[in-house]
């Protein structure tokens, strides 16, 4: 038995959890989420560098919640989403167990938000180079080129909403794009409909996105979605000095303010 399986087994044996959400090998040579509700299946539990899905998306799925007490296998981005979700009062300390996977792939059981905060501070990684390069490239374009770049990218969108479904922070029970009175975002995948969707999605994740990149990996047409939220996070860091996913008592910068906030752009 691996260390990861040992930790999981112990949680089942002492009756701490009813369901464990982790990773296993799938039929197609990849890895995917596995939902283990009794310790007999524990030998299927694995972790390797292909296990990227952010399993915290399941924390509010009704059929998952029904099981009772949950445990999640989470690496750094997953843990950041735990803190972000906690700061939004969607999960309380002690609601679930987290088997954290560190940089070297070693598991450890984290039980409270303090431990998660420490873990994150000790396991920081740099954002992927490719993403940073692309962001720089876009920032160096002229405005017209940027517009061309993004309208080209957005034109590919088929509005399957996989980007929304896989995002641990897109947990609204009714998304703005599903509201039709008034119809804020047209259901069409037309130039306007797509632009609206992408701006709305990014704005709703501004200062909340923890940068797991799952939206980008899910997108069937490879739109570099995480760049939009990453860029918004960058401006939030510049203007307000905040960064999501680091503290469970993070104050969401767009629902707080300071009297001395910059206003040189206001006439």
């Amino acid at each position: 038995m691996t260390e990861l399986q040992n930790i999981a087994k112990k949680l089942f044996d002492d009756g701490s959890i009813n369901l464990l959400i982790g990773y296993s090998n799938n039929e197609n040579g990849g890895t995917s989420a596995i939902f283990i509700d009794n310790s007999a299946d524990i030998d299927k539990l694995i972790y390797n560098e292909n296990c990227h899905q952010n399993l915290m998306v399941y924390f509010q799925k009704p059929e998952v919640k029904k099981f009772g007490k949950l445990a999640f296998v989470v690496s750094l981005p997953g843990l950041k989403s735990v803190l972000e979700i906690a700061s939004e009062n969607q999960i309380k300390d002690g609601d679930a167990y987290f088997i954290a996977i560190d940089k070297d792939g070693n598991p450890s059981l984290l039980q409270d938000f303090h431990q998660i905060e420490d873990f994150i501070t000790n396991n920081q990684t740099k954002p992927p180079m490719g993403l940073l390069k692309l962001m720089e490239k876009i920032n160096n374009m002229t405005r017209e080129e940027r517009w061309q770049y993004w309208t080209d990218e957005f034109s590919k969108c088929i509005k399957c909403y996989a980007c929304r479904s896989v995002c641990p922070l897109c947990y609204c029970t009714q998304c703005i794009t599903d509201i039709n009175i008034p119809q804020w975002i047209s259901t069409e995948s037309s130039p306007i409909g797509n632009l609206d969707w992408h701006i709305a999605r990014a704005m709703h994740l501004a200062g909340r996105c923890i940068g797991c990149g799952e939206c980008m990996k899910a997108c069937p047409v490879d739109i570099p979605l995480a760049l939009l939220t990453a860029n918004l996070n960058k401006s939030i860091a510049i203007h307000f000095g905040d960064e999501p996913g680091m503290k469970a008592d993070y104050k969401y910068p767009l629902s707080h303010y300071k009297l001395e906030d910059k206003e040189n752009f206001i006439r």
Partner: protein, 335 residues
């Protein structure tokens, strides 16, 4: 009608050049190591050795958003115009046999009782040149749903690479002959051959008749929930699928002018079945997943006499959480 020909790869290039000026040609193209159907005007741009594209070619008939008519109010009255759904004849060049057979389902769905005008006009101008599969991956399962990697169902012409540089051509329909006539001298007559040794081996993963029966008989089962815990309710599976035909009709614009459009929809979305009252008869994801499977193997058989899955494996490849229709069917076969 069936006749058999040979064409060399070089001549295929010339054949393409003969077709190109008068037709819109849609073909698989490589973009970042993935394949997508795109309009092409150069033979070199076509990917001939791909396994499957990310999205199907159904959008040639049934686009993501299809304008049914535009309206415009003038002098107290509404003027309606229906944009032409297709201009030139359109050839899909090099789609896989599973996809070609999806067009049999699509035309049944859209033309059986009510004849959908846009689809009908497009279908009349649509030509399908399919390419038998040399290679398959473990998401492919055409052989489990009554097809095979060299099936000619739905194709006008079917090409099978038999030697390094020679394609064996089956002329399946009149339309196929029409295409050949663009440049008949590029082809050489031959006898029917056994294609099986030139194509991919796709192991059968379930028995479709058995599957139909089992899925028919099971509505309430805890297995539906267990099997769909990972499903997140996005629409990739339906949008990538060559036979998913659900749509949503929307009016875009104001009371003065606008358009009525038909957009893709997916049974995986919770909004799909939501009533105006707020009640949702399929409130949880397992019920939506059940609907998808039952539609493919039960409801569409009831309605059209055809299962609505051609085994292309796109939903399996694209699902971000690796939901797997084959696995589900297998689970229910074991019941």
């Amino acid at each position: 009608m069936n006749n058999y020909k040979l064409i060399t790869k070089q001549n295929l290039h010339s054949f393409f050049d003969a077709l190109q000026p008068k037709n819109t040609i849609i073909a698989p193209k490589e973009i970042n190591k993935k394949y997508y159907f795109k309009p092409v005007d150069k033979f070199e741009d076509i990917a001939l050795d791909y396994i499957q594209t990310v999205l199907s070619a159904k959008s040639v008939l049934f686009p993501r958003s299809d304008t049914l008519f535009n309206y415009h109010r003038a002098d107290g009255d509404y003027n309606i115009d229906e944009p032409s759904p297709i201009e030139k004849n359109t050839i899909v060049f090099g789609m896989k046999p599973c996809d070609a057979s999806s067009f049999v389902y699509l035309s049944n769905f859209f033309l059986k009782d009510y004849q959908d005008k846009n689809i009908k006009e497009r279908l009349e101008k649509l030509y399908i040149i399919s390419l038998s599969c040399k290679e398959a991956d473990n998401a492919c399962f055409c052989t489990s749903v009554g097809s095979n990697p060299a099936s000619t169902k739905g194709s006008d012409l079917n090409l099978t690479l038999i030697e390094n540089d020679t394609y064996y051509v089956e002329v399946v329909t009149e339309k196929g002959q029409e295409l050949i006539n663009y440049s008949a001298d590029l082809f050489q007559d031959t006898k029917e051959i056994d294609k099986s040794k030139y194509i991919a081996n796709v192991p059968q993963k379930f028995d479709v008749e058995q599957a139909k029966q089992n899925i028919d008989s099971i509505f309430e089962s805890p297995l539906w929930v267990k099997d769909s815990l990972a499903c997140l309710g996005c629409g990739i599976c339906a949008y990538a699928c060559p036979t998913c035909t659900c749509f949503d009709i929307q009016d875009i614009g104001s009371q003065f002018n606008g358009s009525r459009v038909r957009n893709w929809d997916s049974c995986a979305f919770d909004l799909f079945t939501k009533h105006a009252s707020g009640h949702n008869p399929r409130p949880v994801q397992s019920q939506r997943w059940r609907n998808r499977i039952k539609h493919k193997f039960e409801y569409s058989v009831e309605n059209l006499g055809l299962i609505s899955c051609v085994g292309c494996g796109r939903c399996i490849r694209s699902c971000p959480t690796s939901m797997n229709i084959v696995k589900t069917v297998q689970i229910f076969q074991g019941v």
